[in-house]
């Protein structure tokens, strides 16, 4: 076991009282910190030893309730799960503690999570099932079926993924990783009958799965390691499996790689844009395409490079494909 050391440290802490302050400010607190202490211990001690008005959410102290999420130097942190010493290892000794989203602060670390809950609830995050009130046998979920739900069931709604998601940050309509991960969780439950409705919700362009930017911030932020982006990928797959993927620019963009790989092995970038956008959508790309062409960045169709041993690739596509989209049906 590592030695327990005590160290004097300064924490810079975000302070704001929306009823009183015009602008937020930062205040430094000096504490003797033992190396095994959590960020939650720091929050507690600021409140107990320095300023009783300091506000933050906390409850279980066991990484279950999801209340005490904050950001430390911009890193999404569950205060009761992340040690001060681990964070010092990443960021050095100058730690800045802030709420998950400063623009939503009500008082200090307490934020208004309304938009998070609204989006979370919009995917019917519960089992949709007709209940037989006089069952004659157990409602069995076999191990293989339970495996499909995967870790998606571990979500504690702390919001760390949501408030770390850059797509949420710039697109207020985007449902975000937590809502999508829980949609996957119930969509893959054999007892559930709400999959069609949920897919209809998460499939919408502008707010659903197609607006994920694939940055993996959510995978990094999740304290329960449930890998939300992987669940988003699986929702994409469900839309094709169930044949409910719309014929729109994003869906054609995902599918469009396949015909190109069959033809060239490589992706024909120009063709993908043309195919995904359709006419007249592709016209808006012309000014940039022209600039790129002038700089030798556009390969003409007759000059498209091809992978060596293309026949192997074609054969593998033929025998490995599992999904279908419109024109293949």
């Amino acid at each position: 076991m590592a030695n327990i050391e005590t160290k004097k440290m300064k924490f810079k802490v975000f302070r704001f009282n929306s009823e009183r302050d015009y602008l937020p400010y930062y205040k430094s607190y000096e504490l003797e910190v033992r190396s095994e202490e959590m960020i939650l211990d720091v929050l507690n001690r600021i409140k107990w030893e320095h300023d009783g008005s300091f506000s933050y959410r906390r409850s279980c102290r066991h990484g279950i309730c999801g209340s005490c999420a904050v950001k430390v130097n911009g890193k999404a942190t569950l205060a009761c799960k992340d040690r001060v010493s681990d964070l010092v290892e990443i960021f050095g000794e100058e730690l800045v503690i802030e709420p998950q989203d400063k623009s939503l602060a009500i008082k200090d670390m307490v934020i208004d999570k309304k938009s998070f809950w609204k989006k979370y609830n919009s995917v019917n995050p519960y089992l949709n099932s007709d209940i037989d009130e006089t069952p004659t046998k157990e409602n069995l979920v076999l191990p293989d079926d339970a495996d499909k739900i995967d870790e998606a069931d571990y979500c504690i709604q702390c919001g760390n993924c949501y408030y770390s998601c850059p797509a949420v940050n710039v697109n207020e309509d985007y449902l975000g990783p937590a809502a999508l991960a829980i949609a996957y969780r119930f969509n893959s439950d054999v007892r559930d009958s709400g999959r069609e409705e949920r897919l209809d919700t998460v499939n919408r362009l502008g707010s659903g799965i197609w607006d994920c930017v694939k940055c993996f911030e959510c995978a990094e932020a999740c304290p329960k390691e449930l890998n939300p982006i992987e669940k988003i990928t699986k929702l994409h797959l469900q839309t094709f499996e169930d044949g409910v993927a719309d014929d729109n620019v994003a869906v054609r963009h995902a599918y469009g790689f396949k015909p190109s790989i069959i033809k060239h092995g490589l992706l024909d970038e120009g063709e993908l844009v043309k195919y995904s956008e359709g006419i007249p959508g592709v016209l808006k790309h012309m000014p940039v395409a022209f600039k790129m062409w002038r700089k030798g960045k556009v390969v003409m169709p007759w000059k498209m490079p091809k992978s060596k041993n293309l026949d192997e690739i074609q054969k593998l596509v033929e025998i490995s494909s599992t999904a279908k989209f419109n024109e293949e049906n």
Partner: protein
């Protein structure tokens, strides 16, 4: 030290819309005495989209690409963050799941190939900073980047998810990556610290959500500019495409001029090694790189 030798998976972009990336990669490899064998058999990695449509197809195709590096008995190097992600993710899944590996091999067998899991996969950036080492590169600098203030833009798929980067690739901390900053300093330049250096450029939603993409790029680029960067350097051709070719759209979205030269990582190294900018493909840039 024996000569470094790798199998180079170029990806599609370096053969099409960013020819300067392949050109500059080959140029600096030659100057640094690194041998690169091009994997001409390789196909597209699916660019983080194909696996949304057909996971099995994506796995099989990526496994086939890795097989060609295995046949050479070499570590595969990538020059695109997203190629790195898709390839490394395939390797991690196959190496940790024997059933999945068997399934993929049953397909590969039909074309006489077998995935073994014997080749490492890393981005060329880490071949430079970890295998060759920044000190060795610094010794070959003939044209130090003195007075150049450069902001490193790491690109998501080289730093996240961190568990994967620890298995295959540089194992950088996703919150405080340092490799490119160390390289800038070794080349005699000044690295600019800015908050958005590890953030997303939005390239992957360029078609369906251009507003999102432009706002993400714009925010990061303005952060670099306002922190004093005269240029941004990136190891990812997709970040490069977004930030180099779309500056007009980004500027109009941000309501402010967002103009800054964007360099590919090997172009920056090549400049410091005294390679002629033309041989680094500087003439292929859409945005102004005049000051260089």
């Amino acid at each position: 030290m024996s000569k470094l030798k790798y199998a180079l998976y170029t990806g599609c972009t370096a053969r099409e819309s960013t020819p300067e990336l392949l050109k500059s990669t080959l140029a600096i490899a030659k100057a640094l005495d690194i041998e690169l064998i091009l994997l001409d058999e390789a196909s597209c990695c699916g660019a983080s989209h194909l696996q949304d449509f057909d996971d099995q197809l994506s796995l099989v195709l990526n496994a086939r690409n890795i097989v060609y590096a295995e046949k050479l008995g070499l570590t595969m190097v990538t020059i695109c963050n997203t190629c790195q992600l898709n390839t490394a993710m395939t390797k991690e899944r196959l190496d940790s799941d024997p059933d999945l590996k068997d399934m993929v091999n049953s397909k590969l067998k039909e074309v006489g190939l077998e995935y073994k899991g014997s080749s490492e996969i890393k981005h060329f950036l880490y071949a430079l900073v970890d295998d060759l080492g920044v000190e060795a590169i610094a010794q070959k600098v003939t044209n130090p980047l003195t007075d150049m203030q450069i902001g490193a833009f790491y690109g998501c798929h080289n730093i996240r998810p961190s568990h994967l980067q620890n298995i295959s690739n540089g194992g950088e901390n996703a919150y405080t990556p340092t490799s490119i900053d160390r390289l800038i300093v070794a080349l005699g330049g000044k690295n600019i610290e800015y908050e958005h250096k590890n953030k997303c450029c939005g390239f992957h939603v360029e078609l369906q959500a251009p507003k999102t993409a432009n706002r993400l790029s714009g925010t990061a680029m303005l952060d670099a500019i306002d922190s004093g960067a005269q240029a941004i350097v990136t190891p990812c051709p997709l970040c490069h495409l977004k930030m180099d070719t779309q500056q007009a759209h980004i500027s109009s979205e941000m309501g402010r001029d967002v103009k800054i030269p964007i360099l590919h990582l090997p172009q920056m190294v090549g400049m410091a090694l005294g390679i002629d900018p033309k041989d680094l493909g500087i003439n292929h840039h859409v945005s102004d790189v005049e000051f260089i």
